[in-house]
């Protein structure tokens, strides 16, 4: 049951990324490039994606997930250096190549050799993150 729902969610996510144009790096960079030929598509994608989720979050109150378990609790509204520095690093990479994790995974079968290299580099970064994150926490404690 859980695996089937996951497969469905992944398939919907993949279909949405493909038809919205979000696996096309020129459209994503077009949104970020306010000094170039600015492309507003990403705002429509983001807005469209938020709508069903506004409803979904409302539906979580007083219920439990279909496949059992509990809904995720809301994290404390804490703005730590992990959130800030991590998002800066992510944004820099996103601007450079025009790919974020979802589209990088979704386009791996048709993004050519470069797409595979990006995915592998991203995985390498993900594997290095726990150690670097711990370093940041130590630096935060020392400060």
């Amino acid at each position: 049951m859980r695996a089937l729902l996951s497969l469905l969610a992944g398939a919907l996510f993949g279909a949405g990324l493909l038809i919205s144009g979000m696996t096309d790096t020129t459209k994503v960079q077009g949104w970020l490039d306010v000094f170039g030929a600015w492309d507003p598509t990403l705002a429509f994608v983001m807005g469209g994606a938020i709508l069903p989720m506004l409803v979904a979050w409302r539906l979580t109150s007083g219920r439990t997930p279909i496949a059992g378990g509990q809904f995720p609790t809301k994290a404390a509204p804490e703005l730590d250096r992990r959130l800030i520095l991590g998002s800066v690093s992510f944004g820099m990479g996103w601007g450079l190549a025009g790919l974020c994790p979802g589209p990088a995974i979704a386009s791996v079968t048709y993004g050519g050799f470069g797409g595979v290299v990006f995915l592998l580099a991203m995985i390498a970064g993900m594997c290095a993150a726990p150690a670097l994150g711990a370093q940041l926490d130590r630096a935060a404690k020392a400060a």
């Binding site: 497969l7 709508l51 992510f90 993900m126």
Partner: protein
């Protein structure tokens, strides 16, 4: 093309629907970086996550030949840029604990302060990086 925003909106609705299925069905937040990250750093491996990734990869593969014009990624051919960008995205999303899907789609729709702040930061960082690299230094 003037119809691109319609495709953007339609695709966005599908993305949100996927996130809603994942949340209401499995009680999990659909974050691409968290799902892949947990698998590759072995912090959280599950058949459920693998199944999500299979759907995410298989659907565009099946759907793409039906679309016209055929969607391309148009990724830069500069491999130095590709590798640096990939590492920055992988590191950043795992340290910040979320990307465009987790912090953006799922976080903003929940009015999560962390999600909203993260989204403002990564969009700004992306815009500034692109402005510097493309328009000021002409490197990409």
């Amino acid at each position: 093309m003037q119809t691109e925003w319609v495709w953007g909106l339609a695709g966005g609705l599908l993305i949100g629907l996927g996130a809603a299925v994942y949340l209401l069905g499995n009680g999990r937040i659909m974050g691409a970086s968290g799902i892949l990250g947990g698998m590759v750093d072995k912090s959280e491996r599950s058949f459920e996550r693998l199944s999500f990734l299979v759907g995410l990869i298989a659907m565009p593969l099946l759907l793409r030949p039906l679309l016209s014009p055929t969607p391309e990624t148009n990724l830069t051919g500069n491999f130095t840029v590709v590798i640096i960008a990939g590492v920055l995205v992988g590191l950043g999303t795992r340290i910040a604990n979320g990307c465009t899907s987790g912090h953006g789609v799922c976080g903003i729709s929940r009015f999560s302060l962390r999600g909203i702040i993260a989204t403002i930061i990564y969009i700004t960082a992306g815009g500034v990086t692109l402005a510097l690299m493309r328009h000021i230094w002409g490197l990409i």
